[in-house]
Every structure is written in C-alpha cells, then in structure tokens.
C-alpha cells in the first residue's frame, strides 16, 4: 500500500461517486417533486450508453454522438413519463415499484432486440484516450479525469439551475406544495415532464460517459441503480445536496473498500481468511453503511425540507 496507489484509488472513487451522482440527481428530483419511486431510472442510463456508442460508430464524431445521445435519452424519458409514469404519481409506492419494475424488463429486452444480448464494444475518441502524468509516479487515464471534470461541472450547473433560475424556483416550489404551484397558474404536468426528461438526460449522460469503462449490455442499469438507491437513501431522499454527498461517500467507500479491505484484513487475519472475507465484506460495505446511517439518521444525512 503506497501513496500512489491510494491517490489512484481515491480518484477512481471520485469518478464512481460522480457517476452515481449524475444518476442520483435525477432520481432524487423525481422522487422529491413527483413522489415517484422510479426503478426504471437505470434503464435511461443504459439507453444513454447505447445511443452514444451507436451514434459514435455511425457518425465517427464523439461530440455529435454525445449530443444525439443526450437528446435521445431525454426523448425516451419524456415519452416514458407521458405514456406510463404520469398515471403513477397518485398511486402508492408499491404500484410504482411494480410498474417501473415492468418497465425495466421492457427496456432491457428492447435493447437486447435492437443490439443483442452480448456487451457491445464502446470506445473513447483517440484524443481522450491515453494517460496524464499527474505527479512523477502517478499516471492517470485522461478519460476518467474528463468524467470527473464533466460531472463536477454538471453538479455546479445543477446547483445554479435549481437555486438561481426561474425553472429552479418552480422545481423547488413544486417539491414543497404542488397544489399551490398549480393554483398559481403553472402548468404542473408540463413541469413534471420537463423535470423527468431532465433527470433522464442526466442519467443518459452518466451512461454515455462510463460506457467505455464498464460494459455496455442489457441490464447494466440495474447493477448501478441499486447503488444509486443506497446513495439517495444515505443522502436523504429528495435532496440534491444529499445526493451529492451520498454519491461521493458511496463511491469512495465502495472503491477503497474493494481495493484496501483485503490487504488491511490480512494484517489481522490469516491470509486465506482475509482472501475469503475481504471481497465478501467489500461488496457488502455500502449496504452496511446504509443500515448504520438509517439506524442513526432515519431520514438520511441531508433530509429534504418538506
């Protein structure tokens, strides 16, 4: 265990945290404002990854592919909201969970029909591949730094949007009292569709960014979605600030746990015991963390003001 390795893993944790935040932001907004539990949010992440990979292959231009993929995920989000989710806002959580569970099956299979069940090859443009020499010993992939940079910029943009613009004001108002907002002459249905599509685009952005790092395949959304749920529960459901804090915590704990738990355990336990317990404990770590947080702060670290 040396400093270079720790720095590298910390950056990896940051990159995972940022990715989780991009997905969690939309999910927590949708929950905070529409009171909707959307399991199918991971499908939009998957859609973003597939669109970007496909358009990059077709057009050869990565920026163009990114724009098309963002627009595509936004469109898929809007259509899903209007066709299926709109009627669910007034239903209880059980119905929402089940209906969006059905949507997951639908989207995964649809993607499998269009692009096959196997993982498809996704790549980054040449100018984003390669490594950056950060210090003398630490070389880090440029693309991962790009993800971190894009994610942090989006987080800032999101803060500005929600805290400083008229749309953000409506979003916050809709979260605290939707009837009043509607009574003031705001088209609340349109606002909901806008918020949902916006969240979909953020999830799509996360998907298209990490597509080349993780594998692009049907079901990729669910793998990350459950971690995202841990994020928003730890952060406090409905709170963007909480989602940001929760995402960084989960990203770090998960990455550092996987990297360092086994060697750390090996210093106290025998090597075979550490070999067996290390990976098991590392994959359970974020769920343990969530249970501990909920035991002490049942509404998460940053409960949304309601």
């Amino acid at each position: 265990m040396n400093l270079v390795l720790i720095a590298e893993q910390t950056l990896n944790g940051l990159q995972l945290g940022i990715t989780l935040f991009l997905i969690a932001a939309g999910l927590t907004l949708v929950f905070g404002i529409m009171n909707l539990v959307n399991l199918a949010h991971g499908a939009l992440y998957m859609v973003g990854a597939y669109f970007c990979t496909y358009f990059f292959q077709q057009t050869g231009s990565w920026p163009l592919a990114v724009v098309l993929a963002l627009a595509g995920s936004m469109l898929v989000g809007a259509v899903t909201e209007v066709v299926a989710l709109r009627t669910l806002y007034e239903r209880d959580h059980l119905d929402q969970v089940l209906a969006t569970f059905g949507l997951i099956l639908f989207f995964n299979e649809l993607v499998a029909m269009l692009w096959g069940r196997a993982a498809i090859f996704s790549t980054v443009p040449d100018y984003l591949s390669g490594h950056v020499q950060i210090t003398e010993q630490l070389r880090y992939p440029l693309y991962r730094l790009v993800i971190i940079g894009v994610g942090l910029s989006v987080a800032l943009l999101l803060w500005w949007l929600v805290a400083r613009t008229r749309l953000g004001m409506l979003i916050r108002a809709g979260a605290s009292n939707r009837t009043m907002v509607a009574a003031l002459g705001i088209n609340i249905r349109l606002l909901y569709t806008v918020v949902f599509s916006f969240g979909a685009a953020l999830a799509g952005l996360a998907g298209l960014l990490v597509g080349p790092i993780y594998s692009v395949q049907p079901g990729m959304g669910e793998l990350i979605l459950i971690q995202v749920f841990v994020v928003i529960v730890i952060g406090g459901i409905g709170s963007i600030r909480g989602a940001f804090a929760g995402a960084l915590i989960v990203g770090m704990v998960d990455t550092l746990g996987r990297a360092f738990l086994k060697p750390t355990l090996a210093t106290v336990l025998s090597a075979p015991a550490a070999d067996a317990a290390g990976p098991a404990l590392a994959s359970m770590l974020i769920y343990l963390l969530m249970a501990v947080v909920l035991a002490f702060r049942p509404a998460g670290l940053f409960p949304a003001v309601r």
Binding site: F31, V37, A84, T87, L88, R91, H93, L94, D95, V97, L98, A99, F101, G102, L103, I104, L105, F106, F107, N108, E109, L110, A112, M113, E222, I226, F229, V230, V233, I237, A276, P279, A280, S283, M284, Y287, L288, M290, A291, L294, A295, P298, A299
Partner: protein
C-alpha cells in the same frame, strides 16, 4: 355472495391441484407436475409475503432473502453430508426467522420508501455474501448432492410424492395464514396498516405486531426456499436476486393483495404466463425469443388497470 365463496374457490383450486399427479401420469406429461410444483413453492413464498405486504402494509422489496436462506440451509448442510430433512428444514425455518428478526428489528422502524430500500439493501447484502463464498459454489452455484431425506417416510426423489408434500405445506400455510389474519393479532396488524394513529390511540403499539409478522413471514418463506432448492436440486445465489423479490411482489399484486387465494392465483398466473411466453409453439418466434418484453408490458398494464388482481374476478364482497 360473500367471503365463503372465495374460500370455496380456494379449496376447489387445491383439490384440482391434488388431482394433477394421476392426470399427468395418465396423459404421460410429467412436465406439468414439475411446473405446478414450482408454482406451489412460489405460492408458499407469496403467501408469506402477502402476510406482511397485504395484511401488514409493509412493502418488503427483499423477500427473496429468505428463499435464499432456506435454500442455503439445505444446501450447506447437505454439502457437509447432513441430509436429514427434519433437521435441514428446521434449520431453514429457524435461520430465516433469525435473519428476519435481525433485518426486521432495524427496518420495521422505518416506513414508506425507506422501508422498501432498506429491505432491498439487506437482501443485496446477503446476495453478495452468497456470490462471494466460493466454498458453496460462489456465483456458479452448487449441485445439491442429495435431496432432503425423511427416514424413509417420504421420498422427495419421487416427483409425485414431492408434489404432494409441497401441496400439503401450501394448504397448511394458507390455513395458518387465514387463522392468523382472523385472530386478534391479525386484526391488530391490519389496524396498524389502515390507520396507525388510531391504532396507537386505542393503546396498541404497531411495532411488535409488525416485527412478529415480519419474522413469521420470513420463517414461512425460508421453508419455501428449502423446497425450492430440493425442486431445482441446485443451489445458487440467484435465489436472492432482487428481481426475484420483485417477482414475489408481483405475484401478490397479480393474484389480489390481502386475499387468501391471491398468492396462489398470482404465482400460477405469473409462472404460467412466463412459461407460455417462452415456449408456446403457437406464438411467433419473435415473441418467444423476447418474452420478457411482453412480460414487462403485462406487468405495467396489470398494475395500472387491474388493481384487485385475479382474486378480484371471483364474485363476492370485496374489502
């Protein structure tokens, strides 16, 4: 028309199920025995979930955990050469109850979306635990060396005998659940679901009732897990996959939430539909190949439009 008609429908269904083995033998279609045994095992699991989800109002998104624990209890004991079924199934029930007590003690305090998420998270924890224990197969799973042995009393290797064991347990659990729901305990549980504030006002604290229901439900589902691993003769962490929890929830909703016959109807409905979409020759290949697409659409439509489920189709009084 009243509730007794629905009970008769349920009894009729169980009698029909009892008539299947001779019929299947006569028609030489052992496949149906296998399919319906699976249906009944899942009906037991769904019955246990219905107790807390339907009557208790607790939306547990992690019920597959107990299927897994029951299955692992049998699988692990069998791995060490202990094939005594009484012991295996006893451990399956006991271990599931203990885990349900631990999970319930933390999660029953929360409600709403937090309850959904925390039950999901605990099940994920157990799922990853199962994935990472290489000794018991890890993510590849492990073949069950031998089915549970009941000292010559009944041979689970014989499909029909095993079928009747499952049917008897299902009938017993349906009866026990109905008794439990009608008892003072069950009334208190339902009162807490309907109106927590009033329940407290008349001097009942919902927490212990909910926790006990959660533990009973976990224990019942643990036995379903023990049956399931005997059914498949294969132990895998996939029993605890979160989609399994979702399927169990869907069975309860599809059959009709908080009804006696709902879980059986729901389990039959979902598994037969899955089977039909996957393998019915009359369907075009485009459908059978991508059956999950149609299953997903069906799921959404059922939730949106068929609130009372299949049991709601039986005429009579509805709550």
């Amino acid at each position: 028309m009243n509730a007794s008609l629905r009970n008769w429908v349920l009894v009729g269904l169980l009698l029909l199920l009892a008539a299947v083995p001779p019929l299947a033998a006569w028609l030489n279609q052992p496949f149906y025995l296998d399919l319906l045994r699976r249906v009944m095992i899942f009906a037991i699991a769904a019955t246990s979930l219905n107790l807390i989800l339907g009557y208790g109002g607790m939306v547990s998104f992690g019920h597959a955990a107990y299927l897994g624990i029951g299955a692992y209890a049998v699988g692990v004991l069998s791995y060490y050469g202990i094939n005594n079924g009484w012991l295996q199934w006893g451990v399956a029930i006991g271990a599931s109850a203990l885990v349900a007590l631990a999970i319930g003690a933390v999660s029953v305090r929360t409600s709403g979306i937090y309850f959904i998420m925390i039950t999901l998270a605990f099940t994920q924890m157990l799922y990853y635990l199962g994935l990472s224990i290489e000794e018991y197969g890890g993510d590849d799973g492990m073949r069950l060396a031998s089915r549970s042995q009941f000292s010559g009393l009944v041979d689970l290797g014989d499909p029909a005998s095993f079928y009747y064991v499952v049917l008897a347990i299902l009938a017993l659990f349906l009866y026990l659940t109905a008794r439990l729901v009608g008892s003072r305990f069950g009334r208190a549980l339902q009162a807490a679901r309907t109106n927590e504030a009033r329940t407290r006002a008349i001097g009942l604290s919902p927490y212990p009732y909910r926790l006990v229901a959660f533990v009973i439900s976990g224990a019942m589902c643990g036995l379903a897990g023990a049956l399931l691993v005997n059914h498949t003769a294969f132990l895998t962490p996939e029993f605890m996959n979160w989609t399994r929890s979702g399927e169990l929830m869907f069975m309860v909703i599809l059959g009709g939430i908080a009804t006696a016959s709902g879980p059986l109807l729901g389990a039959a409905g979902l598994l037969l539909l899955e089977d039909l979409l996957q393998g019915w020759e009359l369907l075009p290949k485009a459908v059978t190949e991508h059956w999950q697409l149609y299953l997903g659409i069906t799921l959404v439509l059922v939730v949106l439009f068929a609130k009372r489920g299949l049991a709601g189709l039986i005429p009579g009084r509805h709550e």
